[in-house]
């Protein structure tokens, strides 16, 4: 159900610089607290985990609960010492995994 995630990573940075990364993914984040028209509880279905890696090493992650708003937004920083690839992963309650990558050139 998620469309392509949006990520904002600078294209270039200088070695040792701390950059800001923003990510957004389309998802209802059904909290598990709502009822449908017939009064039945709508089961929880959320993105429960977000991770950011750089050249395979962990940078940042978030464990999410039903209180995160629909279309979850994450903003965080990363310290880049070399050129490489960021890999972002979102894990859905239903087992789906959404991924995106971004390159950065460090001089």
């Amino acid at each position: 159900m998620a469309s392509k995630p949006r990520v904002k990573v600078p294209k270039t940075a200088s070695a040792g610089e701390v950059i800001t990364i923003k990510t957004l993914i389309s998802h209802n984040m059904e909290s598990g607290q709502r009822k449908d028209k017939d009064g039945n509880l709508i089961p929880r279905q959320i993105i429960n985990k977000f991770t950011a890696e750089f050249n395979g090493a962990p940078v940042f992650s978030a464990d999410m609960h039903g209180a995160i708003s629909a279309n979850p937004y994450m903003e965080f920083t990363a310290k880049v010492n070399e050129s490489g690839t960021f890999k972002f992963t979102w894990v859905d309650d239903d087992g789906s995994v959404y991924e995106d990558t971004s390159e950065i050139a460090v001089s």
Partner: protein, 151 residues
């Protein structure tokens, strides 16, 4: 309490508006005690100290469904001065857990921002856990408004 028909009418008008705007939730809401308990557990049996971590949240949220928050710990994020995680709780939501951010040396800073849901006016609590096991807390009350016409 005796109500005449006019009061009953006015009250039901209010109730309709409220039902249309309130976050549809079921069951009991969390309490400050629930959050204290969760914090104690996170902090290894004691209450986290105030300070070091700062939580930014609006004083008044126009809609409880999308409340921007950010947290930050002033830290070198290098040997001896590392923030492991920041956990966010909401003491008036059905489930007090909101999110835990995990940081590494590659994070550069211990900062994160997201958007969260608040079922009503309540405290948002941020607990930072350092690599040495010490914990720090910050708390902000966010007033959640009820819109005039479906808000």
């Amino acid at each position: 309490m005796n109500m005449n028909r006019r009061q009953a009418m006015a009250m039901s008008a209010g109730a309709v508006v409220f039902a249309a705007t309130g976050l549809a939730t079921t069951g009991a809401l969390a309490s400050a005690e629930d959050v204290d308990k969760a914090m104690m557990e996170l902090a290894g049996g004691k209450m986290p100290e105030a300070g070091k971590v700062s939580l930014t949240a609006p004083e008044i949220a126009e809609n409880g469904n999308t409340v921007p928050i950010s947290v930050e710990v002033d830290s070198a994020m290098a040997d001896g001065d590392m923030v492991e995680s920041i956990t966010i709780y909401a003491d008036g939501n059905p489930n007090p857990d909101v999110v835990t951010f995990h940081f590494t040396a590659l994070s550069g800073t211990a900062m994160a921002a997201t958007r969260m849901r608040l079922a009503k006016t309540q405290n948002v609590v941020a607990v930072a856990k350092m690599a040495d096991g010490s914990t720090f807390v910050d708390k902000k009350e966010v007033k959640v408004t009820i819109g005039g016409c479906g808000g």
